[in-house]
Protein backbone atom coordinates (compact mmCIF):
# COMPACT_ATOMS: atom_id res chain seq x y z
CA UNK A 1 0.00 0.00 0.00
CA UNK A 2 1.28 3.39 -0.94
CA UNK A 3 2.48 5.47 1.97
CA UNK A 4 0.71 8.81 2.16
CA UNK A 5 3.99 10.70 2.25
CA UNK A 6 5.23 9.27 -1.01
CA UNK A 7 1.96 10.25 -2.63
CA UNK A 8 2.51 13.95 -2.19
CA UNK A 9 6.31 14.11 -1.87
CA UNK A 10 6.56 13.47 -5.59
CA UNK A 11 4.75 16.75 -6.13
CA UNK A 12 7.32 18.61 -4.08
CA UNK A 13 10.48 17.03 -5.42
CA UNK A 14 13.21 19.69 -5.78
CA UNK A 15 14.81 18.02 -8.82
CA UNK A 16 11.51 17.93 -10.66
CA UNK A 17 10.89 21.58 -9.90
CA UNK A 18 14.33 22.50 -11.21
CA UNK A 19 13.85 20.48 -14.38
CA UNK A 20 10.44 21.95 -15.04
CA UNK A 21 11.96 25.42 -14.68
CA UNK A 22 14.48 24.53 -17.37
CA UNK A 23 11.75 23.24 -19.68
CA UNK A 24 9.67 26.38 -19.11
CA UNK A 25 12.63 28.54 -20.09
CA UNK A 26 13.05 26.62 -23.35
CA UNK A 27 9.39 27.06 -24.30
CA UNK A 28 9.26 30.69 -23.16
CA UNK A 29 12.14 31.52 -25.47
CA UNK A 30 9.89 30.62 -28.39
CA UNK A 31 7.29 33.23 -27.38
CA UNK A 32 7.56 36.69 -28.85
CA UNK A 33 5.13 38.26 -26.41
CA UNK A 34 5.19 38.36 -22.61
CA UNK A 35 3.12 35.75 -20.81
CA UNK A 36 1.03 37.29 -18.01
CA UNK A 37 -0.48 34.51 -15.96
CA UNK A 38 -3.22 35.19 -13.46
CA UNK A 39 -3.63 32.62 -10.74
CA UNK A 40 -7.14 33.22 -9.49
CA UNK A 41 -6.91 31.19 -6.34
CA UNK A 42 -5.33 32.49 -3.16
CA UNK A 43 -3.91 29.07 -2.37
CA UNK A 44 -1.89 29.23 -5.59
CA UNK A 45 -0.61 32.71 -4.71
CA UNK A 46 0.51 31.23 -1.43
CA UNK A 47 2.33 28.32 -3.12
CA UNK A 48 4.06 30.58 -5.60
CA UNK A 49 5.31 32.98 -2.96
CA UNK A 50 6.11 30.46 -0.25
CA UNK A 51 8.14 28.23 -2.57
CA UNK A 52 9.64 31.17 -4.45
CA UNK A 53 8.49 29.80 -7.80
CA UNK A 54 8.44 33.26 -9.34
CA UNK A 55 12.22 33.38 -8.84
CA UNK A 56 12.64 30.33 -11.06
CA UNK A 57 10.88 31.70 -14.14
CA UNK A 58 12.30 33.52 -17.16
CA UNK A 59 11.89 37.27 -17.58
CA UNK A 60 8.96 37.10 -19.98
CA UNK A 61 6.64 35.22 -17.64
CA UNK A 62 4.89 37.32 -15.05
CA UNK A 63 2.37 36.51 -12.34
CA UNK A 64 -0.69 38.60 -11.72
CA UNK A 65 -2.31 37.63 -8.46
CA UNK A 66 -6.06 37.32 -8.76
CA UNK A 67 -8.99 37.94 -6.42
CA UNK A 68 -9.27 34.35 -5.20
CA UNK A 69 -9.33 35.03 -1.51
CA UNK A 70 -12.88 35.06 -0.08
CA UNK A 71 -11.79 36.91 3.04
CA UNK A 72 -9.94 39.56 1.05
CA UNK A 73 -12.86 40.41 -1.27
CA UNK A 74 -15.42 40.88 1.52
CA UNK A 75 -16.47 44.53 1.40
CA UNK A 76 -16.26 46.44 4.66
CA UNK A 77 -19.99 47.06 4.85
CA UNK A 78 -20.61 43.31 4.98
CA UNK A 79 -18.08 42.88 7.75
CA UNK A 80 -20.09 45.58 9.50
CA UNK A 81 -23.14 43.35 8.91
CA UNK A 82 -21.39 40.60 10.83
CA UNK A 83 -20.48 42.97 13.65
CA UNK A 84 -24.05 44.30 13.81
CA UNK A 85 -25.47 40.78 13.97
CA UNK A 86 -22.98 39.77 16.64
CA UNK A 87 -23.96 42.82 18.70
CA UNK A 88 -27.61 41.75 18.87
CA UNK A 89 -28.67 40.49 22.31
CA UNK A 90 -28.51 36.73 22.91
CA UNK A 91 -26.78 36.15 19.61
CA UNK A 92 -23.79 34.01 18.73
CA UNK A 93 -22.00 34.74 15.45
CA UNK A 94 -20.08 31.85 13.95
CA UNK A 95 -17.67 32.14 11.03
CA UNK A 96 -14.58 30.54 9.50
CA UNK A 97 -11.34 31.38 11.28
CA UNK A 98 -9.62 33.96 9.09
CA UNK A 99 -12.68 36.20 8.86
CA UNK A 100 -12.40 37.53 12.39
CA UNK A 101 -9.16 39.38 11.71
CA UNK A 102 -10.41 41.66 8.94
CA UNK A 103 -11.32 45.18 10.02
CA UNK A 104 -14.70 46.58 8.99
CA UNK A 105 -15.35 50.30 9.39
CA UNK A 106 -15.64 50.01 13.19
CA UNK A 107 -13.08 47.31 13.84
CA UNK A 108 -12.62 43.59 13.28
CA UNK A 109 -14.77 40.78 14.65
CA UNK A 110 -11.86 39.86 16.93
CA UNK A 111 -12.07 43.34 18.41
CA UNK A 112 -15.84 43.05 18.85
CA UNK A 113 -15.27 39.74 20.56
CA UNK A 114 -12.86 41.32 23.01
CA UNK A 115 -15.57 43.89 23.80
CA UNK A 116 -17.95 41.12 24.79
CA UNK A 117 -19.73 39.90 21.65
CA UNK A 118 -20.03 36.13 21.38
CA UNK A 119 -18.14 35.49 18.16
CA UNK A 120 -16.79 32.02 17.50
CA UNK A 121 -14.29 31.20 14.78
CA UNK A 122 -14.49 27.56 13.64
CA UNK A 123 -12.74 25.25 11.19
CA UNK A 124 -15.73 23.08 10.30
CA UNK A 125 -19.19 24.53 9.52
CA UNK A 126 -20.91 21.51 11.11
CA UNK A 127 -19.58 22.66 14.50
CA UNK A 128 -22.24 25.37 14.21
CA UNK A 129 -24.92 22.72 14.70
CA UNK A 130 -23.49 21.78 18.08
CA UNK A 131 -23.34 25.44 19.09
CA UNK A 132 -26.97 25.95 18.12
CA UNK A 133 -28.07 22.78 19.96
CA UNK A 134 -26.09 23.72 23.08
CA UNK A 135 -27.57 27.22 23.17
CA UNK A 136 -31.30 26.82 22.51
CA UNK A 137 -32.13 30.21 24.00
CA UNK A 138 -29.72 32.06 21.72
CA UNK A 139 -29.85 32.91 18.04
CA UNK A 140 -26.86 31.43 16.23
CA UNK A 141 -25.93 33.07 12.94
CA UNK A 142 -23.52 31.41 10.53
CA UNK A 143 -21.65 34.07 8.55
CA UNK A 144 -20.85 31.97 5.47
CA UNK A 145 -17.85 32.83 3.30
CA UNK A 146 -15.96 31.14 0.51
CA UNK A 147 -15.92 30.30 -3.17
CA UNK A 148 -17.54 27.28 -4.81
CA UNK A 149 -15.38 25.01 -2.67
CA UNK A 150 -17.05 26.01 0.59
CA UNK A 151 -20.59 26.55 -0.61
CA UNK A 152 -21.66 22.87 -0.50
CA UNK A 153 -20.56 22.65 3.14
CA UNK A 154 -22.87 25.51 4.04
CA UNK A 155 -25.57 23.69 2.09
CA UNK A 156 -25.07 20.56 4.21
CA UNK A 157 -25.20 22.65 7.39
CA UNK A 158 -28.50 24.13 6.25
CA UNK A 159 -29.79 20.71 5.26
CA UNK A 160 -28.99 19.31 8.68
CA UNK A 161 -30.56 22.29 10.44
CA UNK A 162 -33.78 21.73 8.50
CA UNK A 163 -33.77 17.97 8.99
CA UNK A 164 -33.20 18.18 12.71
CA UNK A 165 -35.46 21.20 13.25
CA UNK A 166 -32.73 23.33 14.73
CA UNK A 167 -34.72 26.52 14.54
CA UNK A 168 -32.31 28.92 16.21
CA UNK A 169 -29.75 28.69 13.40
CA UNK A 170 -29.75 31.47 10.79
CA UNK A 171 -27.46 32.23 7.87
CA UNK A 172 -25.79 35.27 6.36
CA UNK A 173 -24.54 34.18 2.95
CA UNK A 174 -21.48 35.69 1.29
CA UNK A 175 -20.51 32.88 -1.06
CA UNK A 176 -18.94 34.09 -4.31
CA UNK A 177 -18.17 32.58 -7.71
CA UNK A 178 -14.91 32.40 -9.66
CA UNK A 179 -15.90 32.69 -13.34
CA UNK A 180 -17.64 36.10 -12.93
CA UNK A 181 -14.52 37.37 -11.15
CA UNK A 182 -12.42 36.26 -14.09
CA UNK A 183 -14.82 38.13 -16.38
CA UNK A 184 -14.55 41.26 -14.23
CA UNK A 185 -10.76 41.17 -14.51
CA UNK A 186 -10.91 40.76 -18.28
CA UNK A 187 -13.59 43.45 -18.66
CA UNK A 188 -11.04 46.16 -18.01
CA UNK A 189 -9.67 47.19 -21.41
CA UNK A 190 -6.25 47.69 -19.84
CA UNK A 191 -6.08 44.16 -18.50
CA UNK A 192 -2.83 42.46 -19.38
CA UNK A 193 -3.73 38.92 -18.32
CA UNK A 194 -3.34 36.47 -21.20
CA UNK A 195 -3.50 33.12 -19.41
CA UNK A 196 -5.15 31.70 -16.31
CA UNK A 197 -4.14 29.12 -13.75
CA UNK A 198 -7.51 27.73 -12.76
CA UNK A 199 -8.23 27.17 -9.08
CA UNK A 200 -7.63 23.72 -7.67
CA UNK A 201 -10.40 22.99 -5.21
CA UNK A 202 -13.06 25.21 -6.68
CA UNK A 203 -12.61 23.03 -9.77
CA UNK A 204 -12.90 19.81 -7.76
CA UNK A 205 -16.45 20.88 -6.91
CA UNK A 206 -17.52 22.80 -10.01
CA UNK A 207 -15.67 20.77 -12.62
CA UNK A 208 -13.34 22.17 -15.27
CA UNK A 209 -16.37 22.83 -17.49
CA UNK A 210 -16.98 26.22 -15.88
CA UNK A 211 -13.88 27.66 -17.52
CA UNK A 212 -14.81 26.77 -21.11
CA UNK A 213 -16.60 30.10 -21.65
CA UNK A 214 -13.46 31.99 -20.56
CA UNK A 215 -11.29 30.04 -23.00
CA UNK A 216 -13.73 30.74 -25.81
CA UNK A 217 -14.43 34.38 -25.00
CA UNK A 218 -10.89 35.48 -24.29
CA UNK A 219 -8.93 33.03 -26.48
CA UNK A 220 -6.46 32.27 -23.76
CA UNK A 221 -5.19 29.11 -22.09
CA UNK A 222 -6.76 28.03 -18.82
CA UNK A 223 -4.85 25.29 -17.02
CA UNK A 224 -6.43 23.90 -13.84
CA UNK A 225 -3.57 23.31 -11.42
CA UNK A 226 -2.98 21.43 -8.19
CA UNK A 227 -1.50 23.19 -5.17
CA UNK A 228 1.89 21.58 -4.87
CA UNK A 229 4.90 23.37 -6.34
CA UNK A 230 5.39 20.70 -9.02
CA UNK A 231 1.72 21.07 -10.00
CA UNK A 232 2.08 24.82 -10.43
CA UNK A 233 5.33 24.53 -12.37
CA UNK A 234 3.86 21.91 -14.67
CA UNK A 235 0.83 24.10 -15.25
CA UNK A 236 3.07 27.02 -16.16
CA UNK A 237 4.89 24.74 -18.58
CA UNK A 238 1.61 23.75 -20.20
CA UNK A 239 0.56 27.38 -20.52
CA UNK A 240 3.90 28.34 -22.02
CA UNK A 241 3.70 25.46 -24.52
CA UNK A 242 0.23 26.61 -25.59
CA UNK A 243 1.51 30.14 -26.04
CA UNK A 244 4.48 28.94 -28.06
CA UNK A 245 2.11 27.00 -30.33
CA UNK A 246 -0.38 29.85 -30.52
CA UNK A 247 -3.31 27.82 -29.16
CA UNK A 248 -5.83 28.49 -26.40
CA UNK A 249 -7.26 25.45 -24.65
CA UNK A 250 -8.72 24.26 -21.39
CA UNK A 251 -6.32 21.78 -19.80
CA UNK A 252 -6.55 19.96 -16.47
CA UNK A 253 -3.13 19.46 -14.89
CA UNK A 254 -4.73 18.45 -11.56
CA UNK A 255 -6.17 15.34 -13.18
CA UNK A 256 -5.82 13.25 -10.02
CA UNK A 257 -8.54 15.35 -8.42
CA UNK A 258 -10.40 17.40 -11.03
CA UNK A 259 -12.79 16.12 -13.70
CA UNK A 260 -14.71 17.92 -16.42
CA UNK A 261 -17.98 17.50 -14.53
CA UNK A 262 -16.86 17.95 -10.93
CA UNK A 263 -18.74 16.79 -7.83
CA UNK A 264 -22.31 16.60 -9.09
CA UNK A 265 -23.77 15.73 -5.70
CA UNK A 266 -22.26 18.91 -4.26
CA UNK A 267 -23.45 20.99 -7.22
CA UNK A 268 -26.99 19.67 -6.75
CA UNK A 269 -27.01 20.76 -3.13
CA UNK A 270 -25.77 24.21 -4.12
CA UNK A 271 -28.52 24.54 -6.71
CA UNK A 272 -31.19 23.56 -4.24
CA UNK A 273 -30.20 25.73 -1.30
CA UNK A 274 -28.87 28.85 -3.03
CA UNK A 275 -29.83 31.28 -5.76
CA UNK A 276 -27.62 33.64 -7.71
CA UNK A 277 -27.66 37.18 -6.37
CA UNK A 278 -27.94 39.91 -9.00
CA UNK A 279 -25.65 42.37 -7.30
CA UNK A 280 -22.64 41.93 -5.10
CA UNK A 281 -19.83 44.37 -4.47
CA UNK A 282 -16.33 42.87 -4.31
CA UNK A 283 -13.78 44.74 -2.30
CA UNK A 284 -11.17 46.00 -4.70
CA UNK A 285 -13.05 45.00 -7.87
CA UNK A 286 -16.34 46.78 -7.28
CA UNK A 287 -19.81 45.46 -8.20
CA UNK A 288 -19.86 42.27 -10.29
CA UNK A 289 -23.28 41.08 -11.51
CA UNK A 290 -24.36 37.50 -10.80
CA UNK A 291 -21.16 36.80 -8.93
CA UNK A 292 -22.52 35.80 -5.52
CA UNK A 293 -25.17 33.64 -3.88
CA UNK A 294 -28.02 34.08 -1.43
CA UNK A 295 -30.34 31.62 0.25
CA UNK A 296 -33.12 30.17 -1.92
CA UNK A 297 -36.41 31.93 -1.23
CA UNK A 298 -37.87 28.78 0.37
CA UNK A 299 -35.32 29.21 3.18
CA UNK A 300 -36.11 32.87 3.79
CA UNK A 301 -37.03 31.92 7.35
CA UNK A 302 -33.32 31.33 7.97
CA UNK A 303 -31.97 34.32 6.06
CA UNK A 304 -30.40 36.75 8.54
CA UNK A 305 -30.06 39.38 5.83
CA UNK A 306 -33.86 39.46 5.47
CA UNK A 307 -34.74 38.99 9.11
CA UNK A 308 -32.44 41.77 10.30
CA UNK A 309 -32.79 43.96 7.19
CA UNK A 310 -33.93 46.93 9.27
CA UNK A 311 -30.71 46.90 11.24
CA UNK A 312 -28.04 46.06 8.71
CA UNK A 313 -26.03 49.01 7.36
CA UNK A 314 -26.42 49.60 3.62
CA UNK A 315 -23.89 52.32 3.00
CA UNK A 316 -21.04 51.16 0.81
CA UNK A 317 -17.67 51.82 2.38
CA UNK A 318 -14.76 52.46 0.11
CA UNK A 319 -11.18 51.71 0.89
CA UNK A 320 -8.49 54.26 1.66
CA UNK A 321 -7.74 56.57 -1.29
CA UNK A 322 -4.17 55.36 -1.49
CA UNK A 323 -5.18 51.71 -1.73
CA UNK A 324 -4.34 50.22 -5.11
CA UNK A 325 -5.97 46.84 -4.64
CA UNK A 326 -8.35 47.35 -7.53
CA UNK A 327 -5.45 47.79 -9.94
CA UNK A 328 -3.44 45.00 -8.33
CA UNK A 329 -6.32 42.55 -8.65
CA UNK A 330 -6.62 43.36 -12.35
CA UNK A 331 -2.93 42.99 -12.94
CA UNK A 332 -2.41 46.67 -13.66
CA UNK A 333 -0.14 47.21 -10.69
CA UNK A 334 2.21 45.26 -8.48
CA UNK A 335 2.00 45.39 -4.66
CA UNK A 336 5.32 47.19 -4.59
CA UNK A 337 3.88 49.96 -6.79
CA UNK A 338 1.43 50.88 -4.04
CA UNK A 339 2.58 53.87 -2.01
CA UNK A 340 1.26 52.51 1.26
CA UNK A 341 2.55 48.95 0.81
CA UNK A 342 4.54 48.09 3.91
CA UNK A 343 4.15 51.60 5.24
CA UNK A 344 0.60 52.43 6.30
CA UNK A 345 -0.62 49.05 5.08
CA UNK A 346 0.72 45.89 6.71
CA UNK A 347 -0.74 42.47 7.61
CA UNK A 348 -1.29 43.70 11.16
CA UNK A 349 -3.18 46.79 9.99
CA UNK A 350 -4.40 46.18 6.43
CA UNK A 351 -5.82 49.12 4.49
CA UNK A 352 -7.05 47.07 1.58
CA UNK A 353 -8.19 43.62 0.61
CA UNK A 354 -4.91 42.34 -0.79
CA UNK A 355 -3.14 42.67 2.55
CA UNK A 356 -5.81 41.04 4.63
CA UNK A 357 -5.10 37.34 4.63
CA UNK A 358 -2.22 35.06 3.72
CA UNK A 359 -3.80 34.50 0.30
CA UNK A 360 -3.88 38.15 -0.71
CA UNK A 361 -1.19 39.34 -3.14
CA UNK A 362 0.14 42.14 -0.95
CA UNK A 363 0.19 39.96 2.11
CA UNK A 364 2.09 37.22 0.25
CA UNK A 365 4.59 39.75 -1.10
CA UNK A 366 5.06 41.28 2.34
CA UNK A 367 5.71 37.97 4.06
CA UNK A 368 7.40 35.89 1.44
CA UNK A 369 9.08 38.44 -0.74
CA UNK A 370 12.05 36.94 -2.43
CA UNK A 371 15.43 37.95 -1.23
Amino acid sequence: MLALKSLYQGFRDPKTIAKLAEMIAIEAAKCSEPINIMEVCGGHTHTIMKYGLNQLLPENIKFIHGPGCPVCIMPKERIDHAATLASQPDTILVTLGDMIRVPGSKGSLAEFRSKGCDIRPIYDPLDTLAIAIDNPDKTVIFFAIGFETSTPMTAVLLEQAEKRNIDNLLFHINHVLVPPAMDAVMADPQATVNAFIGPAHVSVISGAKVYRPAVENYHMPVVVSGFEPVDVMESILRITKQKAQGVAELDVQYSRAVSEEGNLAAQKKNEHFFEIREDFRWRGLGPIPNSALKLSSQYAHRDAELIYADRLPVKEIDDHKACQCGDILRGLANPKDCKVFGRGCTPESPLGSCMVSSEGACNAYYRYNGV
Binding site: M1, L2, L4, K5, L7, Y8, G10, F11, D13, K15, T16, K19, L20, E22, M23, C41, G42, G43, H46, L96, D98, Y123, D124, P125, L126, D127, T149, S150, P152, M153, V156, E159, A200, H201, V204, I205, G226, F227, E228, V230, S255, R256, A257, N263, L264, A265, A266, K269, S357, S358, E359
Partner: protein, 79 residues
Protein backbone atom coordinates in the same frame (compact mmCIF):
# COMPACT_ATOMS: atom_id res chain seq x y z
CA UNK B 1 -7.75 28.44 2.99
CA UNK B 2 -7.42 25.35 0.88
CA UNK B 3 -4.97 22.74 2.00
CA UNK B 4 -3.78 20.22 -0.44
CA UNK B 5 -2.48 17.14 1.32
CA UNK B 6 -4.61 14.10 0.63
CA UNK B 7 -5.84 12.06 3.58
CA UNK B 8 -6.55 8.38 3.81
CA UNK B 9 -9.81 6.84 5.00
CA UNK B 10 -9.14 4.57 7.99
CA UNK B 11 -12.60 4.06 9.53
CA UNK B 12 -16.18 4.23 8.29
CA UNK B 13 -19.14 5.56 10.31
CA UNK B 14 -22.06 4.88 8.01
CA UNK B 15 -24.82 5.80 10.48
CA UNK B 16 -23.38 9.29 10.87
CA UNK B 17 -22.44 9.71 7.20
CA UNK B 18 -18.88 10.36 8.23
CA UNK B 19 -15.45 8.73 8.08
CA UNK B 20 -12.22 8.93 10.05
CA UNK B 21 -9.27 10.00 7.95
CA UNK B 22 -5.60 10.06 8.72
CA UNK B 23 -3.04 12.57 7.49
CA UNK B 24 0.58 12.06 8.52
CA UNK B 25 -0.36 10.45 11.79
CA UNK B 26 -3.16 12.87 12.63
CA UNK B 27 -6.65 11.33 12.69
CA UNK B 28 -9.93 13.15 12.60
CA UNK B 29 -13.57 12.57 11.78
CA UNK B 30 -14.91 14.28 8.69
CA UNK B 31 -18.29 14.43 6.99
CA UNK B 32 -19.04 12.31 3.93
CA UNK B 33 -22.27 14.15 3.09
CA UNK B 34 -20.93 15.37 -0.25
CA UNK B 35 -19.87 11.96 -1.55
CA UNK B 36 -22.47 10.33 -3.79
CA UNK B 37 -20.97 6.83 -3.41
CA UNK B 38 -19.82 5.22 -0.18
CA UNK B 39 -16.12 5.51 0.63
CA UNK B 40 -13.87 2.55 1.36
CA UNK B 41 -11.07 2.09 3.83
CA UNK B 42 -7.84 2.92 2.08
CA UNK B 43 -9.34 5.54 -0.27
CA UNK B 44 -7.32 8.71 -0.66
CA UNK B 45 -9.49 11.79 -0.31
CA UNK B 46 -9.30 15.57 -0.28
CA UNK B 47 -10.69 17.31 2.78
CA UNK B 48 -12.00 20.87 2.96
CA UNK B 49 -13.25 22.43 6.20
CA UNK B 50 -14.23 19.11 7.72
CA UNK B 51 -15.80 17.49 4.62
CA UNK B 52 -14.60 14.96 2.08
CA UNK B 53 -14.68 16.77 -1.27
CA UNK B 54 -13.69 13.95 -3.56
CA UNK B 55 -11.45 10.93 -4.02
CA UNK B 56 -7.94 11.23 -5.36
CA UNK B 57 -7.31 9.05 -8.35
CA UNK B 58 -4.33 7.13 -6.97
CA UNK B 59 -3.37 5.63 -10.33
CA UNK B 60 -3.33 9.08 -11.90
CA UNK B 61 -1.21 10.45 -9.09
CA UNK B 62 1.31 7.63 -9.35
CA UNK B 63 1.43 8.01 -13.12
CA UNK B 64 2.20 11.71 -12.77
CA UNK B 65 4.98 11.04 -10.28
CA UNK B 66 6.47 8.39 -12.57
CA UNK B 67 6.39 10.86 -15.45
CA UNK B 68 8.22 13.43 -13.36
CA UNK B 69 10.85 10.86 -12.42
CA UNK B 70 11.37 10.11 -16.10
CA UNK B 71 11.81 13.77 -16.92
CA UNK B 72 14.41 14.12 -14.20
CA UNK B 73 16.27 10.99 -15.29
CA UNK B 74 16.18 11.91 -18.97
CA UNK B 75 17.61 15.34 -18.27
CA UNK B 76 20.20 13.89 -15.93
CA UNK B 77 21.29 11.41 -18.64
CA UNK B 78 21.59 14.21 -21.17
CA UNK B 79 23.88 16.24 -18.92
Amino acid sequence: MCLSIPSQVVELHEEEQSVTVETMGVKRKVSAHLMPEPLEIGDYVLIHIGFVMNKIDKADALQSIELYNEIVEKMAAAE
